[in-house]
């Protein structure tokens, strides 16, 4: 049994400690946002935050996460009360299929918590690990910049 703190809630999960966090989020906790994309730490669609850092949940075993703070897109807000990053992505209509977007949002959140005024070049660099196949990049860049403003204004 491992106790995980996800979006401020503690969960006791009974899984093999080698299980990657992604499968626990999706399978045990029924959280949809983090996605399986490659299982190889290459595409970023599984990105979540651990202790404020963006990580690949598909390669991070839960054995390393006891006592650490895990945040997923579900922890940023809801449909009715979206957080700044969520709002910005909606306002910029920054999705096509949207499968990569939760990973992008978590990468953005981790960046903006440290640097809400990130420049476009800084945003591009920070998002570099995350792939989008629909070609929504230009909108994602705008959404992250907008989210930075929303967070900075808070």
């Amino acid at each position: 049994m491992i106790t995980l703190e996800v979006n401020g809630h503690r969960h006791d999960v009974d899984v093999d400690p080698s299980t990657p966090l992604l499968y626990v989020l999706r399978g045990e906790l029924a959280l949809n946002a983090a996605k399986f994309g490659c299982g190889l730490g290459q595409c970023g669609s599984c990105t979540v935050m651990v202790d404020g850092e963006a990580i690949y949940s598909c390669i991070t075993p839960v054995s390393t996460l006891a006592g650490r703070r895990i945040t997923t897109v579900e922890g940023l807000g809801t449909v009715d009360k979206p957080g700044p990053v969520q709002r910005a992505f909606i306002e910029e209509q920054a999705a096509q299929c949207g499968y990569c977007i939760p990973g992008m949002m978590m990468r953005a959140q981790a960046l903006l918590e440290k640097n809400p005024g990130a420049s476009e070049d800084e945003i591009r660099k920070a998002l570099e690990p995350n792939l989008c196949r629909c070609g929504t990049h230009m909108r994602i860049l705008r959404a992250v910049a907008r989210a930075g403003k929303l967070m900075g204004a808070k």
Partner: protein, 405 residues
């Protein structure tokens, strides 16, 4: 302490040295060259990995600005495009030759030995001519090179040169074949292998008695290439040639760290020259298989690390490089066999991630996923695989923390 000692030494010795005369007044050389000279120079520039240190990250090739961190401060690669104001556009071939052979700029000032003239000094006139033809036909880029932050005065380099600069032709051995001799020439001149792979003394000079016994660069360890090679699987010519040209050979780790740029460049160099380098270097390696001194994971840190390994690493590394993906078994990974865990720390944290426009194998980054303590545990476990003596793992991880990610 090292600093004061260096400066003191240099200052003492300075009295006896004279600054070389400036060589201004030379007319710039021709700007058009036979295509064959340029092509030859392009191959040599690739072998020399010139573009790496003469290009800022994201900058224009050869326009300088790359920050090379040395124990004596930061030295910036200069602009070697033919721009007249900020590059070498006004240099004659003689200026160029003197820079490569003697480490002097046209005004007669010393370059810091971070510029590997101590190796280039062995270059033939023909090769220098070809390199000149190549660089003088690059696109001229106006780019000022940032100021260096080196604590050693430039004139003091003269003393360093007296001790470490040995002009003259490269080693050759008539008893060896042409490939070996070509490889020896390239390795010791342009390719400047030992710049990274040979340990340095306190003055930053090569410990010539420990030629290619392994050195340190940019927070990475460059493994020994000679009979002390720690490679778990001995290199042979074929494997080394494949590695140098592609960054990937069977039973060997993929290239990482500063070696990445080297193999990127060698991939564009002539196959014959890369083969020659492989012949020369692999000929030095021991031929008997390395015996892993694997020890039991005894301490509690290693026990915890074993679990980290099981979750984060085993899925790929126990499969080996199979049809369905997978990665090198760590028994074959050289990062686990070298005297320091520095390479492993870099690789675990930042992965071995291809440039976005290159098709290459990919090790993912675990930065943020593992805490420093978990990384220490993982290292404690991994060192048992090859039985290496890594101490102060906490200190090593902390040290790497200070390096940019």
């Amino acid at each position: 302490m090292q600093w004061s000692r260096v400066i003191a030494l240099l200052a003492l010795a300075c009295a006896s040295c004279t600054a070389p005369a400036p060589m201004e007044g030379h007319a710039p050389g021709p700007r058009t060259f036979p295509a064959s000279d340029i092509a030859k120079g392009a191959n040599l520039a690739a072998l020399g990995n010139c573009v790496t240190c003469h290009t800022a990250p994201g900058g224009k090739p050869f326009a300088g600005g790359y920050a090379l961190k040395t124990p004596f401060g930061t030295v910036h690669g200069t602009n070697i495009t033919p721009d007249e104001a900020t590059g070498i556009g006004r240099w004659s071939e003689e200026d160029f030759r003197r820079a490569l052979r003697e480490g002097l700029n046209p005004a007669g000032h010393h370059y810091y030995p971070a510029f590997p003239y101590a190796y280039f000094t062995h270059l033939t006139d023909e090769d220098i001519h070809a390199l000149y033809a190549f660089v003088m036909t690059r696109e001229a880029v106006h780019a000022e090179t940032p100021a260096n932050t080196v604590v050693v005065p430039r004139f003091a380099v003269a003393i360093w040169n007296a001790r470490y600069l040995h002009p003259g032709p490269a080693r050759s051995d008539p008893a060896r074949d042409a490939s070996w001799n070509r490889g020896a020439y390239l390795a010791d001149s342009l390719a400047h292998c030992s710049d990274c792979h040979t340990p340095r003394d306190k003055l930053g000079g090569e410990k010539s008695a420990e030629y290619l016994s392994g050195g340190d660069v940019d927070g990475w360890h460059a493994p020994a290439l000679n009979e002390h090679s720690p490679s778990p699987v001995p290199w042979n010519v074929e494997a080394l040639e494949t590695y140098l040209a592609t960054g990937l050979a069977d039973h060997h780790a993929i290239s990482a760290g500063p070696m990445r740029g080297v193999v990127d460049n060698l991939g564009r160099a002539s196959h014959g020259d890369v083969h020659a380098l492989a012949v020369y270097i692999a000929g030095m390696e021991r031929s008997s298989p390395h015996r892993a001194r694997g020890s039991e994971a005894a301490d509690s840190s290693a026990q915890r690390g074993k679990q980290v390994y099981a979750g984060a690493c085993a899925d790929c590394h126990t499969r080996g490089r199979s049809a369905d993906g997978g990665a090198l078994p760590l028994e074959e990974a050289i990062a686990l066999a070298i005297p320091t865990p520095s390479n492993l720390i870099h690789i675990v944290r930042d992965g071995i991630v291809p440039r976005e426009d290159r098709a290459q194998p990919w090790m993912p980054a675990f930065r943020g996923a593992l805490t420093d303590e978990q990384l220490v545990d993982l290292l404690a476990y991994l060192r048992t695989i090859d039985g290496v003596e890594w101490n102060d793992l906490n200190e090593q991880v902390r040290k790497a923390d200070k390096e940019p990610g």
